[in-house]
C-alpha cells in the first residue's frame, strides 16, 4: 500500500510558484521550465493556482520582510505531505541581498526547504534536475518511514 502511494506521489508532483521578492529572473526561468518544448507534464508536473492543490512550493527571491508572513501563510495552507524548492541564488542564501536590512536572506530562514537550485538565474534544465533530486529524496524518505 505504501509503495503504491509513494509511486503516485512521485508521478504526480503539482507545483505552486511563488515570488518572495525576486527580481523576476528566476520566475521567468520557472515558467520557461513549463513550456511545451520541455513539457514538464510528461513527468506529471502541473502548475496549480491554489496552495490547497499543490504538493511542491517553488519559491524564488530572498524573502523581503513584507513577504515573510505571506510565505508562511501560503506554506501553512498546503496539505501534508508538502515540499519546498528554493530556486535561485537569492532563494538559497540571500544572494547579493545577504545582510540587507529588509530581507530575511533565503527561503530556509522562514520555512523548511527540501531542495536548493542555485544559479542567477538557474537554467530550466537545472530546475528540472532539482525537482528530480527532490523526488529521489521523497522516495528515500518514504522508504525510511516504512
Amino acid at each position: 500500500m505504501t509503495g503504491i502511494v509513494t509511486w503516485a506521489r512521485l508521478k504526480s508532483p503539482w507545483i505552486l510558484h511563488m515570488n518572495c521578492g525576486s527580481c523576476n529572473g528566476c520566475d521567468i526561468e520557472i515558467l520557461a521550465t513549463l513550456i511545451p518544448r520541455l513539457d514538464a507534464e510528461r513527468f506529471g508536473v502541473l502548475l496549480k493556482g491554489t496552495p490547497r492543490h499543490a504538493d511542491i512550493l517553488v519559491c524564488t527571491g530572498p524573502v523581503t520582510t513584507q513577504m515573510k508572513e505571506r510565505l508562511k501563510r501560503i506554506y501553512d495552507q498546503m496539505p501534508e505531505p508538502k515540499f519546498v524548492v528554493a530556486v535561485g541564488q537569492c532563494g538559497s542564501s540571500g544572494g547579493i541581498y545577504q545582510g540587507s536590512y529588509c530581507v530575511e536572506g533565503g527561503i530556509d530562514k522562514v520555512i523548511p526547504v527540501d531542495a536548493y537550485v542555485p544559479g542567477c538565474p538557474p537554467r530550466p534544465d537545472a530546475i528540472i534536475d532539482g525537482l528530480v533530486k527532490l523526488l529521489a529524496k521523497i522516495k528515500e524518505g518514504d522508504k525510511n518511514d516504512k
Binding site: 510528461r42 496549480k48 493556482g49 496539505p79
Partner: protein, 324 residues
C-alpha cells in the same frame, strides 16, 4: 434477473468500477491528445490514476471558514449523481437494466446535480475566489442547460418516445434520419462542453482570473472525488449523446450465445463515446476562453435559436411525412 447479475451490473460493469476506469482513461486521452496537438509529449498512461491516488493519500483538510458538512457532501453527491445517471444509459444492448418511459429526462436531471453541487461547494468554501466561481457556475447554468435539453429532445421528438431504449431502436432502424438531426448533434456537443466547464467555457474555474474557482478550497480526497466526478460526467455526457444521436450499442444483432452480441454492443458503444469525447478534445484545443457576457451572448443568440429551429425542422419533417 437474479441478484448476482444485478450486483455485477451495479458495481462492476457498467456500474461503478467501469465508469471510474473509463473516466480515468478519458482524462488520459484528453490530456494526451491535447498535448500532442500542442506538439508536446504528454502525460504517461497511468497519470490520472497517479493523481487520484496521490490526492486520496494527502492530508484531509477543511478551512476554518468553510462549511465542513457541505464540503464533505458535495464531492460524494456529484459522483453519486453521475454514476446513477449512467445506469439509465443502454450500454450492452438496447435495454438498460433500469430503463422506463422517460429515463432520458431523469438522466438529464441527474447530470445537472454536479453543477448545482459545485455551486454550493464554491459558495460555502469561505473563499472569495470560490464564491465568485460558484456565482459564475450558477449564472452560466441556464446558458448551456437550455440548448442541451432542447438538443437532446430532438431525437426523442423524431422517434416519438422519451425512452432511451426506444430511441436506440428507432435510430438503428432509421439511421438515414441522422442528417435531419445533425444540427442538434452539434449543439449538444457544444453545450456539453459548457456543461463540463472545459475550454472555451471554463469561465467558472478560470485559473488565470480566479485561481481555481469553486475548487479553490477543496484539497486531498475531496478534490480527488470531484475530479473523478468531472471525468465520469464527461464519459456519461458523451455516452448520452452517443446513445440518442448516434444510435448507442449498434449494430443490434443477435448472435448465439447472446453474451457475444453484448460484447459487440459494448465495444460499439465505447467507440461512439470515444468519438464524442474526441470532438470535445478537438474543441478544447482549438479555442481560448471567452468572457461571461460573450458566452451568454453566444448561447442565447445562436445556440438556443438554432436548437428551436432544429426542433421546428424535426416537427415539419416528422408530421409532414417526409421521413426517410
Amino acid at each position: 434477473m437474479n441478484i448476482l447479475l444485478e450486483i455485477l451490473y451495479l458495481f462492476i460493469f457498467p456500474g461503478f468500477l467501469f465508469i471510474l476506469g473509463f473516466g480515468l482513461f478519458a482524462e488520459y486521452m484528453d490530456r494526451k491528445i491535447y498535448a500532442r496537438i500542442q506538439r508536446r509529449v504528454g502525460p504517461p498512461f497511468l497519470q490520472p490514476l497517479a493523481d487520484t491516488i496521490k490526492l486520496m493519500a494527502k492530508e484531509d483538510f477543511v478551512p476554518e471558514k468553510a462549511d465542513k458538512l457541505i464540503l464533505t457532501l458535495v464531492p460524494i453527491f456529484s459522483l453519486a449523481a453521475v454514476i446513477a445517471a449512467f445506469l439509465y444509459i443502454p450500454v450492452v444492448s438496447a435495454n438498460s437494466l433500469y430503463s422506463f418511459e422517460g429515463d432520458l429526462i431523469v438522466a438529464l436531471y441527474l447530470l445537472m446535480i454536479p453543477t448545482l453541487a459545485l455551486f454550493l461547494g464554491g459558495w460555502y468554501s469561505g473563499n472569495i475566489f470560490g464564491q465568485e466561481g460558484g456565482m459564475r457556475v450558477a449564472s452560466l447554468l441556464f446558458s448551456y442547460e437550455i440548448p442541451f435539453f432542447l438538443a437532446l429532445l430532438v431525437p426523442a421528438l423524431i422517434s416519438g418516445t422519451w425512452d432511451m431504449t426506444g430511441i436506440v431502436l428507432y435510430m438503428n432502424n432509421h439511421w438515414l434520419v441522422f442528417p435531419f438531426i445533425f444540427l442538434g448533434f452539434v449543439i449538444a456537443v457544444i453545450s456539453l462542453q459548457g456543461k463540463l466547464e472545459r475550454l472555451p467555457f471554463d469561465i467558472p474555474e478560470a485559473e488565470t482570473e480566479i485561481v481555481a474557482g469553486p475548487l479553490a478550497e477543496f484539497s486531498g480526497r475531496r478534490l480527488a472525488l470531484l475530479r473523478l466526478a468531472r471525468d465520469a460526467e464527461m464519459v456519461v455526457g458523451a455516452g448520452l449523446i452517443a446513445v440518442v444521436f448516434l444510435g448507442g450499442p449498434e449494430p443490434l444483432i443477435s448472435i448465439e450465445p447472446h453474451y457475444i452480441s453484448w460484447i459487440i454492443g459494448a465495444l460499439v458503444f465505447l467507440l461512439k463515446t470515444l468519438f464524442v469525447i474526441f470532438l470535445l478534445i478537438l474543441m478544447k484545443s482549438a479555442v481560448a476562453r471567452i468572457r461571461v457576457d460573450q458566452m451568454v451572448n453566444f448561447t442565447y443568440k445562436w445556440l438556443i435559436p438554432l436548437s428551436l429551429l432544429q426542433m421546428l425542422l424535426v416537427i415539419v419533417v416528422r408530421f409532414g411525412g417526409w421521413l426517410p
